[in-house]
Symmetry: C2
Subunit: 428 residues, 2 copies
């Protein structure tokens, strides 16, 4: 008879409670599938007395997750607290030092300390698994690491922050401003305590950096992500994009180029008929492209108790079944440094700017674009207010570098009011 697999769970928020519920509800089903009992030895959270609507009386309690992680009766330490530093980091390190396998939903921790943690775990022949850290219930880490293991990965794309996608689709559906929907989402509890993690694209960029590491055999390089949040997207941009057959998404793209690893997390225009364009509300979607498999699209809930707990359990079940894999799909000590390439890959761009009502204004802008080597695909000028008029330009393919040059040159003219908006049009 195989020994039970004994878990220690730190963090009893949405995800932690979800995991406890699955283990209680499906004890026999899980055992039938993995051939051994999965049991919880001990739990830890900030408050012992909070009512969580789940029976914890069979489990030992630890106030300190560091102690929990190192308990003798724990085989796998589940770090479900979050945060890149503090108790999450300390307890994970303690668990590894004590020879435990680690399952975590913590993208920030791994995006920043993943390399050191993976090296430490692998030196002790332990695994760190993090399916729940990327795109909630979607088995994307597994699909990429294992399902596409025979492919050179040519591109990864994804809408991986449900809150941002909710805000953008809600703006369009209700015709509301960014600010109005942001407040609404905040009141509904859809945003992190620090909303900048969501709307600034940081949370999604953590996830992208983790996937890129697996895909390209490089050390996680979160600092190498070109990061731009959704705060500058206006309802006018959304309407204009829709008019031209596009949707605006906070899209992550990772791609290995001759100049290095390009990682971007920024608002992009995608065709409204594409799977990414059709993604509504809080749903996540990851697109994996490989040289043999072509394009694989994965879609599902990116957050919430059930989906995230499902992903945690996927990792737990793998460990219970003896399916043991390096954290990033190959030994951490073999991962190469990721040289960052910025904006190497050309694309068309959508530009919106406010042109002052002066003779030759449009000509000046067109001339500066031309001087940066950027040609114009489409241009529209709209009705004036007193002193300025909105102008939309869709460029032909150009690099972000060339575009930045042009945008900088605009500043030294006397015809462009404020800062122009530039949104990449991604071929999906």
């Amino acid at each position: 008879m195989t020994q039970p697999l004994r878990l220690g769970i730190a963090g009893l928020g949405t995800v932690g409670v979800g995991v406890v519920r699955i283990i209680q509800k499906h004890a026999d089903l899980l055992e039938a599938r993995c051939g051994r009992r999965i049991v919880i030895s001990a739990v830890s959270a900030q408050s012992r007395t909070k009512n969580r609507d789940v029976d914890l009386s069979d489990y030992a309690w630890e106030d300190d997750p560091v102690k929990l992680a190192a308990r003798d009766d724990v085989d796998v330490y589940l770090e479900l607290m979050g945060g890149s530093e503090g108790p999450a980091k300390a307890s994970t390190e303690a668990g590894i030092a004590a020879g435990k396998d680690i399952v975590t939903a913590n993208k920030a921790l791994l995006a920043i300390h993943g390399q050191a943690l993976a090296e430490a775990a692998e030196a002790r022949d332990r695994v760190i698994r993090f399916e729940a850290a990327v795109a909630g219930g979607i088995p994307v880490v597994k699909s990429l690491t294992e399902g596409l293991a025979g492919n050179e990965i040519t591109r990864i794309m994804g809408v991986m922050n449900g809150s941002c996608n909710y805000i953008l689709t809600r703006m369009e559906d209700a015709g509301l401003s960014y600010e109005a929907v942001f407040d609404e989402a905040n009141q509904l509890g859809y945003l992190e305590a620090d909303p900048e993690l969501d709307v600034g694209g940081i949370d999604a960029a953590h996830k992208l950096a983790l996937l890129a590491s697996i895909a390209y055999g490089t050390k996680v390089n979160f600092d190498g992500v070109d990061l731009e949040g959704i705060g500058a997207v206006t309802i006018e941009d959304i309407h204009q994009a829709a008019d031209m057959g596009y949707k605006i998404k906070l899209l992550g793209v990772a791609q290995m180029t001759g100049r290095g690893l390009e990682q971007r997390m920024s608002p992009c225009l995608v065709p409204d008929t594409s799977p990414l364009g059709q993604l509504q509300g809080g749903t996540n979607m990851v697109v994996l492209e490989g040289d043999s498999v072509g394009q694989i699209v994965l879609r599902g809930a990116g957050a919430g108790e059930g989906p995230t707990a499902s992903a945690v359990m996927s990792d737990v079940m793998d460990i219970a079944r003896g399916l043991r894999l390096s954290t990033f799909g190959r030994p951490a000590i073999t991962l190469r440094e990721a040289r960052s390439a910025h904006s190497a890959i050309p694309a068309p761009y959508y530009l919106r700017m406010q042109l002052l009502d002066k003779p030759g204004a449009l000509g000046k802008v067109a001339k500066l674009l031309g001087e940066a080597g950027i040609s114009i695909d489409r241009m529209r000028q709209y009705g004036h207010n007193d002193t300025s008029a909105p102008v939309l330009i869709v460029t032909h393919k150009t690099t972000r570098t060339a575009l930045n040059e042009a945008l900088e040159a605009f500043e030294s003219t006397d015809v462009v009011e404020g800062t122009p908006v530039a949104i990449r049009i991604e071929a999906v």
Copy 2:
């Protein structure tokens, strides 16, 4: 230094050649990912002299796949020939008897002999892996078996035969009859040598039965699939469905009910705005639903050299990495018999019939539906030809059993010409 993993490949058609190409092209990448060299020891195919545009000179040749499967220098036998009997079966059995792990793309073999093969392999502690047998490059076997291992699976749906989806979408796009597009697809080489495997739904039903086994812990029960091909779908049905906001898809559905396992492979109406409804051409899509994860949608190429070879390599890489799992996700000897439930789950239906031009004809039909306990949601009658008129009815939710009663009763009236068409409207 870990020993290389040595493959024997039987079948050098599209898939086999694709696998050889990946191993030749990505030898170093694969080794970096799995920690050992993946090498081909020997190959086998019907013709040794056929030009396959790939260099096979480093590999031993076997005329007989049975001998290939048992060679001493083979660790993993790749059965990529196809067919549920004959050499595919004999060589797989020989490989298992000789203690080899098996990777196959052969849905027919596993749908019919999977239980016996899995028991034989597992008795020798060997694995049989078959990612390539279901939905081409989409990692659906892995997602279901491992990614959703913490879930009670509540429903599996899928468009898993690209040829049928090609035919149905091409009919709509070009306004062509089934027969015209069937001939076109056949000439383009999109159909199996026996096209009934495709258009009769048999191939897709094999795949569905394999997924159902994993999902529900039951023995593969291909005979338990309620099977209906796309041959009776007319361009009129497609137009009418579109008018009402639906697409017609050859949809597989597996669901455990109180009365047993319901497995259906049949044309269904799905909302045209749903991911399934928007699926064009030869692409496949599988929808997995679990009690925790909710709905996961997986989309990708269902056939072709690259995608299918990618799936084969996923299995090979798992074996190379030491990721070893029972064929159907739990030991084959623990799988229960799948009691078949037929049409237990109610749904609305689309009915099309030709009503003779007689007084009270519509009343008779409505009355017979009512007597079978079926209420009508929408009805349309169209312009006459000389003697009869097409009538469309959308029912409220009913069971197929009740519907069959009504359809039988129609036959004994003198008002319905020919056989009515009944297509289920699936909630997706």
